[in-house]
Symmetry: C2
């Protein structure tokens, strides 16, 4: 850090992404990527002509991409904002709606970046603890008079709130934006989409990184009232008007249009999730019922970090959690059948090793 950095930013505690070690090849089950490549239509779109035209700026309004996403959900492109990953969308939303004068209400346990944005933008967040069973306490999010942000399904718990409960939160904050981060919604839970027409304060954020197999392409989007989308464009155009590159834009269009491929991948991941959940439970794990592409799982007779370390030694990466209420658990991304079998084999060996 330099002596020039604003003192306020000295204290920043940046988000720590899941580890991406370069030392050896791991079975990567730590960052909730899809085990499947993107739609073959993505490859077809990124042809020589497209690459050859990279000397030209992309459309700063990302019109075709936004129209494609809008059509998918029965909306107008005025309801759609696209960002360089959903992180950027979340970052712009926090920038637009929260600062030291107007705070943000977030769950104690959720996507770690909400706290980081709060720090960056001088927000003193209102932190709502989860219930003991890791469910989201709806009452804690009502009548906040400030930005409310939560993930549904939530991470790393993998649990979803029902639509009626979500509507209570959205209706209960008519004077402020309620941001529902639906990064994992394609794998389970109920989307807030049907509420969009009714609630101008609802902001849904989604990502191509999970169900659309495009984590490497960096693409996220927001669905909301035209007024909220306009806010996000104002902030974006004050920061980075050309935030989506040409290749990612085309990839996003094709990945959204290929319904058959999307359905196949999501179904396979959900089926694998259920199978792995049962297998882990059979080995003595506590595993929550997951509405996502990961499992929130507590191994028997050891804490999450110990299990993580033993798996890593065997070439398998999962994510352990350092928050006090989560120490028993790890977050395991649902990978391919082969990857999940490798996890189970390693786990069986680890449990046997530990038995005297």
């Amino acid at each position: 850090m330099s002596k020039y950095l604003l003192p306020r930013l000295n204290a920043l505690d940046p988000y720590v992404p899941g580890e991406q070690p370069q030392d050896r090849r791991y079975v990567k089950l730590n960052t909730n990527e899809s085990p499947f490549p993107p739609s073959p239509r993505v490859l077809a779109a990124l042809d020589a002509q497209t690459v050859g035209s990279l000397n030209l700026y992309p459309d700063p309004l990302a019109r075709t991409l936004r129209e494609t996403i809008a059509a998918e959900y029965g909306l107008s492109s005025e309801n759609v904002f696209v960002g360089n990953g959903s992180d950027e969308v979340l970052g712009f939303a926090f920038m637009a709606y929260a600062d030291e004068t107007r705070g943000a209400t977030i769950p104690d346990v959720s996507y770690g970046f909400y706290r980081v944005y709060a720090q960056l933008y001088r927000v003193t967040p209102t932190i709502v603890p989860l219930n003991a069973d890791f469910s989201m306490p709806v009452e804690g999010f009502l009548a906040q008079q400030q930005l409310v942000a939560l993930a549904n399904p939530n991470a790393p718990t993998s649990l979803a709130l029902g639509l009626a409960q979500l509507e209570r939160i959205i209706a209960g904050n008519a004077n402020s934006v309620v941001l529902i981060d639906e990064a994992y919604i394609d794998f389970g839970g109920e989307t807030c989409l049907p509420l969009l027409a009714k609630y101008p304060n609802l902001l849904i954020v989604r990502t191509y990184s999970k169900s659309r197999s495009l984590a490497g392409g960096r693409l996220g989007y927001a669905l909301a009232s035209p007024e909220i989308i306009d806010d996000l464009h104002r902030v974006k155009n004050s920061f980075h008007p050309y935030s989506i590159n040409t290749l990612t834009m085309l990839a996003g269009i094709e990945a959204m249009r290929d319904h058959a491929y999307f359905d196949t991948c999501v179904s396979a991941i959900c089926a694998q999730r259920e199978q792995s959940k049962q297998a882990l439970r059979a080995l003595g794990f506590r595993v929550l019922d997951s509405a996502t592409n990961f499992l929130f799982a507590a191994p028997p007779n050891m804490d999450g970090k110990a299990y993580y370390e033993k798996l890593k030694a065997r070439g398998i990466l999962v994510r352990y959690l350092s928050q006090p209420t989560l120490l028993d658990y790890v977050r395991i991304s649902v990978g391919s059948a082969a990857q999940m079998q490798a996890l189970l084999d390693a786990t069986t060996a680890i449990l046997q090793e530990d038995t005297p």
Copy 2:
């Protein structure tokens, strides 16, 4: 705009990117893109295997790309930061070094985004007017005790400061960061690179959008002391750790490595620039000597906006400038020989039309 937007952001006056009209095909000389496609090595790198692995997150540290850039300039990767276009790099730099407690000094006439970042981050900028001949008054940038940001060569004037003058500014602000935006440096002027080892407060920002033919790929970078690079990483990791997508990262590596192609393109653009400058002068234009890939040119007998409109009616886009001191001028990107011939033909016709 929604009623939820922070009142402070209501007043934002976002940057207006060069127009990207969809109504017809134009000869686009308005956004300083390269007329040449990116290096053929870029296309070769974006193969089926790469696209097929987009389900995985990119390296958040962009190690190989940063090492490639560092090697190009005889630096270490600790001296290199990469961003989603130089706009993002500039945005992070303003976020790191300026706010309502510590301002920023910028030229009256330069890249328009500096003022926008100032607004976004609550900075009251110190604005230094250019000299009457559009040159940069060095004295105005000394002993500022706050962020100093300027483009060299400058836009839209196309003029460069000499290295001795730049060093006066950098040495004259030992207690604050001096950001030199070298977006156009490959086309002329003297880079501040030789000063990097001497001045820990020097921050050089560059882009792949001009000389590397990758405006559509969105890639910019910073060269600076490890401490400044660390600041930029702190801010980035509090906003968007995976800001560079996998495809752009690979494109950036190959475009940097292909020296022969780079030299060929830059030489061709500079030769075309000189030829077009002479031709416009022969038609009665005032044209400044350009160290960039554009010409700052004042047509005879009409203002910049009138000339812009007449060109647009003939299918050619240039950029007119609305700042009071620039009304006589337009900014014309140096395109291909055919594009520049089209510009000259249209201009000749426009001038004849206007002669009674």
